[in-house]
Subunit: 269 residues, 2 copies
């Protein structure tokens, strides 16, 4: 089911600036038993990202009315907000009519035991470019992620890690990454590239709440390979332990399993 | 008038990957008296850019049939090619149905005497990011251009120049740039960022054909400011001399005016 500006439909205007330039933002998250999971956080991120691009984010109530129309109690929701239609040309239209698209989809085909057994991942060749003006924002310019994800076809590889030009790890193609070292967590600094997800933010807060040290910092690929444990997170998959990265292997970690439980508790709250 | 996969319409699928990720490419050019200007070159660039992203470009004949349906003999055409629809997720769909969208619009409102009198331009604050995997390609991830173009509202400023992180000039928000120095032309190297336009390619060829030295090289902003003349080009505007850049002013240049004539001749051919 798709809602375009609140109305059921399958299409958007061919003059939409999301289509023309990727001029918009999005979020993807779970709905469980009719309830959008961590909705306040998702909306806050959406509003933040809209603001960063100078797009007027629709009010939360407007999106909540859309979500209430979705006819499947358990699904994955993607909300896309674009600057709306305009004539040809990069200049922003003076009369803006922001567009909102809500797409409900099935739960992903990811093997359910990725959460418990962990996944194999790879390191992508494609390097994220550095763009402080867009870093952290979940905008619609995602060709880097598309090209990185196209590097492999092996169904046994569940995620690819992306580095910047300096071989610092930034995140997965669709996830944020954490490493564990001597009982503390680290996650990459996203001030120059990458996407800052709701689940990343939640994990940082949960670590602090449970007195697990956590720092946001540059993490080189070598540092990641020397970590005691690695995991990736996003709002759809939750937390997947990375138990293999190319030829490197890790055992399951106690902190990782605890974090999974804390996430489950927070999502049920 | 808009044609989506050859059929008149105003909308595209909300599942199009151009909308979701900017997963596609485009070109914009003039149609004069029913004839797409420099069409062979436009198609070659379109095919090249599709290939770079692993998208099967529709055959030239298919697009020519679309163009023949356009009901205005003088217009601006934008052709967008996307990877087509897919379910959620960055992974490319296995059964691809590439989408083509042909949008006909009115001639731009740019003052017609920009070509003869020249324009005032500015230097944008936003810096292009460096991404060799996408550099030169006219893809749909154009937020950098949108943000750069949003930096000014003054109608007297016709274009903004964009630099990379090293303060090398890359191009205008919607154009390629050339400088003239001691009778020779230079244009920025686009191996790390920027868009390689048909008009840029034509200007390089025309310079060579008329024994005007031309080099593709890194051009710092300081070098540009020290140039004897500066001009910007694209397939819609043709060639605009830059006679003012912030506080710097240049007189009209003989080579620039000659190049304009050579472009006109090539477009009529």
């Amino acid at each position: 089911m798709i809602l375009v500006d609140g109305l059921a439909g399958e299409s958007i205007s061919a003059r939409d600036r999301g289509f023309a330039y990727g001029d918009g933002v999005f979020r993807t998250f779970k709905v469980m038993r009719g309830k959008p999971v961590l909705w306040q956080r998702q909306y806050a991120k959406l509003a933040h990202d809209c603001h960063a691009l100078g797009i007027d984010c629709p009010p939360a109530q407007t999106l909540e009315r859309d979500l209430a129309q979705i006819d499947t109690p358990d699904c994955i929701i993607k909300i896309v907000i674009t600057r709306g239609d305009s004539a040809r040309g990069y200049a922003m239209p003076s009369a803006v009519a922001v567009r909102r698209v809500v797409i409900a989809g099935a739960w992903p085909a990811h093997a359910a035991d990725n959460n418990s057994k962990g996944i194999a991942a790879r390191v992508c060749r494609l390097r994220y470019s550095s763009q402080p003006a867009l870093a952290g924002i979940k905008h619609l310019n995602r060709l880097e992620n598309v090209l990185a994800r196209a590097e492999w076809n092996d169904a046994d590889i569940a995620e690819g890690l992306m580095c910047d030009a300096n071989a610092n790890v930034i995140g997965g193609t669709m996830s944020n990454v954490f490493i564990e070292k001597q009982g503390a967590l680290q996650t990459p600094d996203l001030r120059a590239c990458g996407v800052s997800g709701v689940m990343r933010e939640l994990v940082i807060e949960l670590a602090k709440a449970h007195a697990v040290p956590v720092v946001v910092t540059a993490i080189s690929l070598d540092q990641l390979l020397a970590a005691d444990a690695v995991f990736v997170v996003n709002s759809v998959i939750g937390l997947w332990p990375v138990i293999q990265l190319d030829r490197m292997k890790w055992p399951q970690s106690k902190i990782t399993m605890q974090m999974q439980q804390w996430i489950d508790d927070a999502q049920d709250a």
